[in-house]
Structures are given as structure tokens and as C-alpha cells.
Symmetry: C2
Subunit: 225 residues, 2 copies
Amino acid sequence: MTTRIVEVRQNVLRKNDLLARELRRRFDAAGTFVVSLVSSPGSGKTTLLEGTLCALARTARVAALVGDLATTRDADRLARSGAPVRQITTGTVCHLDASMVESALADWDVGGLDFLFVENVGNLVCPSSYDLGEHLRVVLLSVTEGEDKPLKYPTIFNTADMAVITKTDLARAAAFDETEALRNINEVRPGLPVVQVSARTGEGFEAWVRELWVARGRALTSPLC
Amino acid sequence: MTTRIVEVRQNVLRKNDLLARELRRRFDAAGTFVVSLVSSPGSGKTTLLEGTLCALARTARVAALVGDLATTRDADRLARSGAPVRQITTGTVCHLDASMVESALADWDVGGLDFLFVENVGNLVCPSSYDLGEHLRVVLLSVTEGEDKPLKYPTIFNTADMAVITKTDLARAAAFDETEALRNINEVRPGLPVVQVSARTGEGFEAWVRELWVARGRALTSPLC
């Protein structure tokens, strides 16, 4: 039984990887930089995204896909930014996959977008295996979750391209040990860029948005020139 | 392909359910009350468990199994309480299942225990489908995660027998809306008992321990008389 599951799983992952590669090719051609956000439930993905859409919308064309098991709350929240937002409701599935992203984009012309954000289901385990065709995978860690999370959920940190430490305004109240958190991230994924933000106070937000532009520039031959 | 996965998955769940039922029979016969803890990563399962083991150890025989993808940090922390603790390391698996619990207990005589705690992998999605043979499934929600989590992860709240709101000492700093959180829990699972605790200040801890004894009494014909 176990062998059979592993085989089925490997086929699923292979199929997903092929589709993700095809999606990435499409995004590249369109000049759309795709950023996915992964974290535990409640680490602040939607709140970070709310601020990010507002900040970027001044100078760029942005949109977002948001995954959840149930409700369209996140899409409703994000739509207030004025950016086009679509909800992917997964039912009982613990992660997004490339085919969900493809379906959500089926009748959507991403060609006009500079940034497309994909917010995954809140889960530090399952999303790590599924390439969504994104250029940049960002893992969030809030200061209230504990500094040991990178060590306990190494795979998701290993597959990420950037880490964002969120809710820094609560750092003191939560007795957050920044040095230990950074050491643990670096132990699991040496050299992973880390940005620290408080979406509530705005601290670190400029640096985060700057990093997005830098990463975009690195990934794409600018489609604007 | 999708159909085949669903079939394999249903077989796995059926097999798990049968084993879980057998485990529960064993626990019943031994008078061991089994409590599982589920939540997001970083909601405070280990911290709650640390305090609980200490509080109960004065008057009861307690032990714990702790699940994690990697590291034995949680087991190391909990072992300081003096209670027997075993770590289940799942690798890349996003939840515990009944066979992992059975293996961990293989050479362990649970007959002498009043309480056995099983701390699941931090995940609000996957653990919901797997019966571990526990009598009481407790879902944790920390005040920093957002009041909407019950609505967005309904299955795990639906399969729980009790909810614990944790980190209440951070409620003000996190602008936690207690009324909304309770309303959302009640919307997803009407009548679910809710306890609120701060493991840091000790607030609510007595009520939580009392609830454990009450639930134990309700589930087991006392093996002590």
C-alpha cells in the first residue's frame, strides 16, 4: 500500500512540475513576475499582501490569487485594494497546485500584469512540494510563532527564496529572540534573504517592496523597455 | 489519476480508522485517557503541554508523544517535566496517523497511565482526517493568529472536542477580538467548549486542567475504583 501511494504521489508531482514549468514560461513571456506566499495559518500573509498590493498599485499593475479551504474572506479583504483578486477554494486540500493556478487564470489575461501574487493555504508542510510556476517563493514567520519553526519545518524554508519575519511590532510582547530566529533560518537555508516587517506600523515595508522590485529585475528581462 | 488517488486515500483512511478504534479499545481497557492537540505551527501546543504535564504530574501519571517533521526539540523540552515523552519524527508527512501512535507505544506499557497526550504536527488541515484513537481532540487557536481561522479551516474545528485559545497575555497587543473569535468557533462547531489560557501568566490554566479531569471522567469508567 505504501509503495503504491509513493508511486501515485510521484506521478502527481511530476505532472505538477511539468505544468508549473509551462506556467513559468508563460509568465516569463508575459513579463509577469509571480510571487507566492507560504506560512502557517495566521502568520499574516493576507495582511502583508493587502499592504503590498496598495504599495505597488501606485506604480505597477498587480493582481492576486488567494487559496483557502473555505470562505472568500481573503479575496474580499484584498479586493478593497482595487487590484484584481481571485479566490481559489480548495475544499479539504491542504495546498495549491499548478493546475489550480492554471484554472484560476484560464480566462484571465495576465499579460498586462507586472506582479501576480499567489497566497497559498496556511500550511508549513504540504505546499513545499508543489511548484506553482512562481518566480519567488516567500515564506513568512511571525514573531509570535517561536524561533524554532525553521528547524521544525525545514522543507518549506529550503524551498523558499526569501523569508519575511512578520508582526515585528509584537516582538517585545512575545519575547521574540531575533538572533536565534535568524540563526535557525540560516542553519536550514544558508544565505536566505530575510526581511522584517510590521504591516501594522509599516516598519520594514519599504525594504520589502524594494526587494520585490529587485527580485523581479533579476528574474525577468524587463518587459517594459 | 484523480480517481485513483481518492481510492487509495479512502483505503488509507479506512485502515487508519480501524486501527484507531483498536487503539481506543486498548486505552479504554487500560484506563488511559488520551488527549490529542492540534493547531497551526507556533500556536503553543508544546508550551501548553509543558505546563499541563507539570500540573497533572502532581496527582496523576502522565506521558506524551510529540510529532514533528524534524528535530526532537519538543520532546527535549517536555522531558524536563519529568514525564515520559517520546518523539515521533514524520519526515515530510504532514500529520500523525494511528500506526505511528501504535509504533511509538509498541514497547511501552500505557496501562499505568492516567493521561497520555499526543501532540500532532503543526498543521490546521491534514490532521483532521486521521483518528489517532484519542478520547479528546483539542484544537488550539492563539490570539495572534486572527479570529477568522475557524471559518477558514472548518474541518479541524469540526473534528475537535474542545478549543483552547492560547497566548491570552498577548490579546491586547494583538488587538484580539474575543467576541468575534468565539462567534466564529460557534458558527463552525456550535457548542464546542472553549477554554482560554496564557501559559506565560498561568491565567486560565486551572480551568483547563479541571476540564481535562471532567472529560476524562466522562469518557472512562474510572479504572481507579
